[in-house]
């Protein structure tokens, strides 16, 4: 790199095209796999393309991140570059907020409009009479208009424990961040390890909850809009917790290797923002999916 370049513009890179091929394989494979299951009742070659795509993406992510970490450790990044990363991460989280917003929007629309309308509220008497006169509008919707029944997931028990776990994990991660900024490395390691353990506990309990829902409550992805919104919202949230936990584990390994300084630790900052964001999403979920 020339010394004249103060804003670091990386040289040519092969990672993006690897990532593009990976995404292509995932989309092409998944698209055919889903259709093949639909048509034949079992998957065909699509699954292999999908798996190859996932492998390619994992290869790309590890390689790309290794490059970025090496560049960061050799001091190529100015404080301006650091701001680019921070702003980029903030906008990415904003896009994630909007993604969850689509599903929360669907939940609110269903609860405020479509279910009451099917039950005949707000002048929709004839909708009710002509479509499903026996339908009772209620939430959780345990009996769909066409007659499928299920049971609601209570908010106390596992969901409540999970709420406490995630809230505590946000606090422990904050303590880890404070420790990093004060240069207390052993406290940093301890708090971060605690956060990771709490994240894993959350995932374990959520898996438990899903098994409980499928085997004992008869609550599945297919049980009408209650099951749809329940599993789509908690499922996408769980996926984000998984990604966040992997993110935190990576940070932990980097900290063991001595990375990050009290004033330069973008990756840690990004991981922490992401984790707090996932936590806030869960609070909304807990209120609107479980409690209310």
């Amino acid at each position: 790199m020339s010394t004249h370049e103060h804003y670091y513009v990386p040289a040519q890179s092969g990672w993006p095209i690897v990532g593009a091929i990976g995404l292509f394989l995932i989309a092409f494979g998944a698209g055919h796999y889903v259709a093949q299951i639909d048509t034949y009742g079992h998957g065909g070659w699509g699954i292999y393309v999908l798996l190859a795509g996932i492998a390619t993406i994992l290869y790309m992510i590890t390689g790309w991140f290794r490059t970025v970490i090496n560049e960061s450790m050799t001091g190529l990044y100015s404080s301006q570059m650091d701001r680019s990363f921070r702003q980029g991460m903030s906008w990415f989280i904003f896009s994630e907020v909007m993604f969850f917003g689509a599903f929360f929007g669907a939940l609110f629309f269903i609860r405020m409009f479509s279910v009451p309308w099917l039950g005949g509220e707000f002048h929709y008497t004839s909708t009710h009479e002509f479509l499903w006169p026996n339908f009772v509008a209620e939430w959780p919707l345990v009996k769909t208009p066409k007659g499928d029944t299920t049971q609601a997931m209570p908010w106390h028990g596992l969901p409540l424990y999970n709420t406490i776990i995630l809230l505590v994990s946000s606090v422990t991660l904050h303590f880890a961040h404070v420790a990093l900024e004060k240069g207390k490395r052993s406290a940093l390691k301890a708090w971060l390890a605690a956060t990771i353990v709490l994240g894993l506990c959350f995932l374990y309990l959520q898996a438990h909850e899903y098994i409980h829902a499928y085997t004992e409550l008869g609550l599945t992805l297919e049980s009408g809009v209650y099951g749809n919104t329940f599993f789509m919202l908690t499922g996408f949230h769980g996926l984000h917790v998984t990604i966040g936990t992997i993110f935190l584990i990576t940070l932990f390994i980097r900290i063991l290797k001595g990375h990050f300084s009290p004033d330069k630790h973008f990756a840690f900052q990004a991981g922490s923002w992401y984790w707090h964001f996932v936590d806030v999403v869960w609070l909304c979920l807990f209120v609107f999916v479980y409690v209310l």
Binding site: S2, T3, H4, E5, H6, Y7, V9, P10, Q12, S13, W15, P16, I17, G19, A20, I21, L23, F24, A27, F28, A30, G31, H32, V34, A35, D38, S78, Q80, S84, Q87, G88, W91, F92, F94, S95, E96, M98, F99, G101, A102, F103, G105, A106, F109, I110, S114, V115, W117, F122, T144, P145, K146, D148, L221, E222, G224, V225, Y226, N228, M232
Partner: protein, 544 residues
């Protein structure tokens, strides 16, 4: 204008500090672009990536255009002649998807890549590797979409708006491929938008304060915000379509407690800001070109900025004007009608300012200006038909007729596409270092502007007379007008070949272009040589 004090602006100050020890001798002093195909595949250079986006967009423009030719050929006469109705539906669907996501949006992203760093004095985009990734996933997304046309059962045939239950209950197996292709296009747009927005926030040259930014940069800043806000909502919508079709959910199925109308609400919450995503950068382009060829400052710069911001904010509260006939409480009809009409105010401000810029200017009509003036006139026609559609009671008659088709083709073809043509003619000398053939460009303009009106203007009358959209066959009474429309369509399609020829010629050679080929042009991009060096502004210029 006064010099901004670097000490008052934190961003400026930092850039300034970092550059004091270097001297300003190194425009393109080091590496020339690498040779061969790998230059384009591995590139992190904003100009290379901009070029890739623009060529990709032009390719998609011709593929989508070919589908439009199939549509117009079938509609040349009443009755079924050339294609099956099922194939006709695939053509209308994929034509729309390709033109929106493959032609217009990548063209604007390509222009942003080329121009935003040069206009604000930045060395490159803020995140150059991600920039490469956001481009290269696009061709793959369209490969998937186009490949689905050859699947058993055909490609997507439910219209580009993929309303449920057409896309969930009555669609083919290729719907999954459609969904994943849209996901990739969305990822690409979001990454591209994050790059643009961070570049503008963080990489402006010292002295480039917010209210000194060229309007193209301003409009792209707002567009990037809209993209980051609504592309994820589209991702949510296609995901729900996927699970409804393949995984047994019933988001859009009343039998399970859902509602097909909800699909339209979610889709248009994305869809209406999307409309402005496709027109705001056009406003920025026209606001650069009209002052240059009027030899005057842009009239009402700050009101232009505020108008763009107001349009963006309003775009989030007008979505249901696409669904007046779908069924809504009356209070909602009134709310969405009035909010939609409010948009006419900031848009009117913009049109007024462009006209006022030309007023008493010393005008000359080089190709960029021709397209820009045509934009102002024809986009305004599209705006007026939009006002007609905004009136709920009137919309009950116009809805789903050719009047709607006429309206959105006026804003998208003579609006967005014409502005892209204007931009290409304005900045081609800067990109290639060569002047293009003015004669050929003027032929392209006059052929286009005449044929596009023969193509789309009569569609208004077809719609008012009741011809529905998205049908391969129609009542005999519409035959004559449809013939005229189709002839206009073929002529418009052929005219674009002139553009292709001109661009190829200009890339290969021609009269050497000076750094500033247009005497009235303003902006940092004209202060560097033509063609723009591979790395421009490795040290930020001081903006006075």
């Amino acid at each position: 204008m006064t010099t901004a004090n670097p000490q008052t602006n934190e961003t400026v100050e930092t850039i300034h500090e970092e550059t004091v020890e270097t001297n300003h001798d190194d425009h393109g002093h080091h590496e020339q672009p690498p040779k061969g195909i790998m230059r384009w595949i591995l590139t992190t250079n904003h100009k290379d990536i901009g070029t890739l986006y623009l060529w990709f967009s032009l390719t998609m423009f011709f593929i989508g255009g070919a589908m439009a030719m199939v549509i117009r050929a079938e509609l040349f006469e009443p009755g079924l002649q050339l294609v099956e109705p099922h194939f006709f539906n695939q053509m209308t669907t994929v034509h729309g998807l390709i033109m929106v996501f493959g032609a217009v949006m990548p063209a604007f992203t390509g222009l942003a890549n080329w121009l935003v760093p040069m206009m604000i004095g930045a060395p490159d985009m803020a995140l150059p590797r991600m920039n490469n990734w956001s481009f290269w996933i696009l061709p793959f997304a369209f490969l998937i979409l186009l490949s689905s046309l050859f699947m058993e059962g055909g490609g997507p045939d439910f219209g580009w708006t993929f309303y449920a239950p057409l896309s969930t209950k009555y669609s083919g197996d290729s719907t999954a491929l459609f969904v994943f292709a849209i996901h990739i296009m969305g990822i690409s747009s979001i990454m591209g938008a994050i790059n643009v927005i961070v570049t503008i926030f963080n990489l402006r040259a010292p002295g480039m304060t917010w209210m000194k930014m060229p309007l193209f940069v301003w409009t792209w800043l707002v567009t990037a915000f809209l993209l980051i806000a609504v592309m994820p909502v589209l991702a949510g919508a296609v995901t729900m379509v996927l699970t409804d079709k393949f995984f047994g959910t019933s988001f859009f199925d009343a039998a399970g407690g859902g509602d097909p109308v909800m699909f339209q609400h979610i889709f248009w919450f994305f869809g209406h800001p999307e409309v402005y995503i496709m027109i705001l950068p056009a406003f920025g382009i026209v606001s650069a070109i009209i002052p240059a060829f009027s030899r005057k400052k842009l009239f009402g710069y700050s009101s232009m900025v505020y108008a763009v911001a107001s349009i963006a904010i309003l775009s989030f509260v007008v979505w249901a004007h696409h669904m007046f006939t779908t069924g809504m409480p009356k209070v909602a009809l009134l709310f969405f009608m009035y909010c939609t009409m409010l948009i006419a105010v900031p848009t009117g401000v913009k049109v007024f300012n462009w006209v006022a810029t030309m007023w008493k200017g010393s005008l000359s009509f080089e190709p960029p200006m021709l397209f820009a003036v045509a934009f102002v006139v024809l986009f305004t026609i599209g705006g007026f038909s939009g006002l007609m559609l905004a009136m709920t009671p009137a919309d009950f008659q116009y809805h789903d007729t050719y009047f709607v088709v006429a309206h959105f083709h006026y804003v998208l073809v003579t609006g967005a596409i014409f502005s892209i043509m204007a931009a290409a003619y304005y900045w081609l000398p800067k990109w290639t270092g060569h002047m293009y053939s003015m004669t050929l460009a003027k032929w392209h303009f006059w052929c286009s502007v005449i044929s596009v009106n023969v193509l789309f203007f009569p569609m208004h009358f077809l719609g008012l007379a009741g011809m529905p959209r998205r049908i391969p066959d129609y009542n005999i009474q519409f035959a004559n007008v449809n013939e005229i429309v189709s002839i206009g369509g073929f002529a418009f399609g052929l005219s674009q070949l002139l553009f292709l020829a001109l661009v190829i010629k200009c890339c290969r050679g021609g009269e050497k272009a000076p750094a500033k080929p247009w005497d009235g042009a303003e902006g940092l991009e004209w202060e560097i040589p033509s063609p723009a060096p591979y790395h421009s502004f490795t040290t930020p210029p001081e903006v006075k």
